[in-house]
Symmetry: C2
Amino acid sequence: MDKEVAVIGVGQTKYGSFPNKGIKDLFIESYLDALANADKGIDPKDIQEAYIGSLQTGGNQLGNMAALMVEQANIPYIPATRVENACASGSFAFRAAVMAIKSGMRDVVIAGGVEKMTDLPRERNRFWLGVSGDVEWERLAGTNFPSIYAMVAMRHMHEHGTTKEQLGMISVKNHANASKNPKAQLRFAVTLEQYMSAGYFAYPFGLFDLCPVTDGASVVILCRGDLAKNYTDKPVWVAGAGSGTDYLAIHDRKDMTRLMAAEVAAQQAYEQAGMKPEDIDFAEVHDCFTIAELISYESLGFAKPGEGGKLIAEGHTQIGGRIPVNVSGGLKAKGHPIGTTGIGQIYEVVNQLRGEAKEPERQVKGAEVALAHNVGGSGGTACVHILKI
Amino acid sequence: MDKEVAVIGVGQTKYGSFPNKGIKDLFIESYLDALANADKGIDPKDIQEAYIGSLQTGGNQLGNMAALMVEQANIPYIPATRVENACASGSFAFRAAVMAIKSGMRDVVIAGGVEKMTDLPRERNRFWLGVSGDVEWERLAGTNFPSIYAMVAMRHMHEHGTTKEQLGMISVKNHANASKNPKAQLRFAVTLEQYMSAGYFAYPFGLFDLCPVTDGASVVILCRGDLAKNYTDKPVWVAGAGSGTDYLAIHDRKDMTRLMAAEVAAQQAYEQAGMKPEDIDFAEVHDCFTIAELISYESLGFAKPGEGGKLIAEGHTQIGGRIPVNVSGGLKAKGHPIGTTGIGQIYEVVNQLRGEAKEPERQVKGAEVALAHNVGGSGGTACVHILKI
C-alpha cells in the first residue's frame, strides 16, 4: 500500500483530568489542533467522513456519539461512525479511515478518539473497564483488568523467568519519557527503588505498573496519497494496517503469555509494508500494564518469544537504543483515555517522523519508519500500523 | 461501483423475545444460517474480517463484543470491529464491509448485527433507547424516542396536512406484510379501526405507531465481485452505499420534518448506482415509528417533500403497488433489534431479489433493484444501500 494513504495533520489535547471539559470540548480542541497542523491548510469542507473511537466510558453519549462529534466540530451531515473495540477503538477507527480512502469512496477522512473517564467514581470506573474483558466468564467472576494482566505477568515470570525488576524498568523508562512530553498526564520520573517499594495492587503489580485514568482526545486527518501535497509538505505515509482478534477470556487462549491478536496484526502490517521488525526505527506500544509492553516486544518481533524481559534489561528500548519504545511516555505515563489511545499513538509517531517532537531529548533522531501497536481489553482485539516518511 | 462487491449469503434468526438465548446464541444461529445460504458453500476459513453492529442494549458485553462474536462462531483471530451508530449500527457495519472489500485489503467479509433487548425491564429499556438521541439536551430534559418522533409527526401534520389515518395506513400495511413473514415478531394483522382506537403513547402515536422491543441477529456474507461465482450462482450486487449524519437534537435542525442524514445518504447511493428513485423496485425502510416511514418516502425521492402521506394513501407502497415498502413487515411488525435492523433489511432485500421470499404473497415479482434505508436514533445517522441482481 505504498503512498496510497497519507496522514496530513495530527492534533491532540493534553492528557489528564479536566473537570470542566466534556467529550465535545475535548474533541473540538483536538480537531482544531489537527486542522492547524496541516502546514498548507485544510478547508473543513474537504472532509468527507469521520471515524471516531470511543468506549464512552461512563455512558456520556452511549449511542450515536460520532454524529454528535462532527456536528460539534461544525462539519455536519458528513458520515460519521463510532468504532468500539475497547482500548483499541482508536486504532480501529484509524484503520477504517485508511480503508475508506483505499476503497476509492473517500478522499479526505478524519479519524479521532475521545474519552472522558475522570467524572466517574472509582467503583464505576472499575465496572466500565471490566466490560471489555469477557463479561460472562471474567467480570462476573470478580476479575478486573489489573488482576487479569497480573495473572498474565505471573505466568510470563513462571514460563520465561521474567522479573519484577524488568517490569520496573519499563515503568521507569516510560515515566522518564513522559516527563519530557508536554501533553503527558504523569510528567514525573520514577526510580526503580520507588517502583519496587510501591504498594501492591494485584501481585506482581504495584502502583507503578498501572496506567492512570485519563481524559483526552486526539484527531488525525488522512487523505488519498496523490492529494497530500495540496495539504502539507510533510506527509507521513501509511505503509501497513494490520488487525486481529483473540479469545476474549484468557483461560480460552492456547498460551496466556502471548497476545495472538497483536501477533496476527503485526504479521499483516509487516507483510503489507514489505518490512521486518528490524526495519522499524521506533514504536509506540500498548502498555496499559508494564507486562503488556514487555509482551509487545515479543508480539512485534523486537525480541524472541519469552525474551521481552531481556530486551528492556539490556536497554534497547530506551531513547537512543536500538528500538526506542514509548518515547511519548506510553499509556503508563502519558495516560490512557481508552478510545483515544490508538489515535494518540499515531499523533506521536507522526510528530516524531516529522522531527517535530519539540522536546529535543524526546525526539528520535533520523527515524524514517515507525510502528503503533494498540490492544483492546486484555488482548481481545489489536491493530498494528506502520508509518513512514 | 458496478459488480465490485457481491452479497453471497444471508442469515437471520427469528425476531422476537427469546428468554433462553443470549447474544452469542443469536449471533451463531444467524451466522450458520448465512453460511448455509450460499448455494455453493463457503469455507469459514475464507472469511477474513467481520463488522458487527450493536448498541449492546442493556450492557451485555459493552466492550470488545465483536471479538467475542467471531470467537463464538469459531472463526477466531480474524479482525472484528464493533460499529455503533445507534439503530443504524447494522447498515454502517454493512457499509464498512463493502469498503473493506473495495479497499483491496479483504476478499470475503461478514457483516452482522446482534441485539438482546428483552432481558431488561421497561424502565431500563427506556433509558437505553434514549441514549441515542442528544443525551445532554434531549434525554436529560425527559424526552424519549416516542415523544421526539411524536413532535416530528405533529410538525409534519401541521406543515403538510399529514393525517393520523395516513400514519395508520402504514401500520396496517406493515402488520399485513409481517403476517406473511415467518421470521417476524408481530405476525398479526391490524385494521385501521383498531389502529385509530388504540390507546395513546405520545400524541399522535398510539400503540400501533411504535415498533416493538426485539431480540434478534442477522449476518450477511460479502465478497469481491470476481470471486462471487465460487460461492453462489445467485450473487446480489451492491450498487450504492451512501451515508450521512444530522444534528442529534431535533431542535438544532433546519426543518424537523426532514431527516437530512437520510437525504445525504440517498443522494450518495443514487449517484454511486447511477440511478434515480424511479429505478427502485421496492424498499425496506426504517419505520421505528409510522411517521419515520412516511418521511422516508420523501427522503428517498419516492414522494415530493411533504407528500409522503399522499403516497401511502394512494396505495403505492403496498405489495403490488408502484414501490412496495417494508414487505418484510418493517421495524413496526417484523421487529427492531437495534443493531441488527440494518443487516436484517439486507437479508430481506437479498431474499426478495433472488425470488426466495418463500411466502408467495410477500414476494415482490420481477424485482431487480432494491433499496435499504436505515436510520440511527431520531435521524442522527443514516445509511442507504442500493442492491441489484
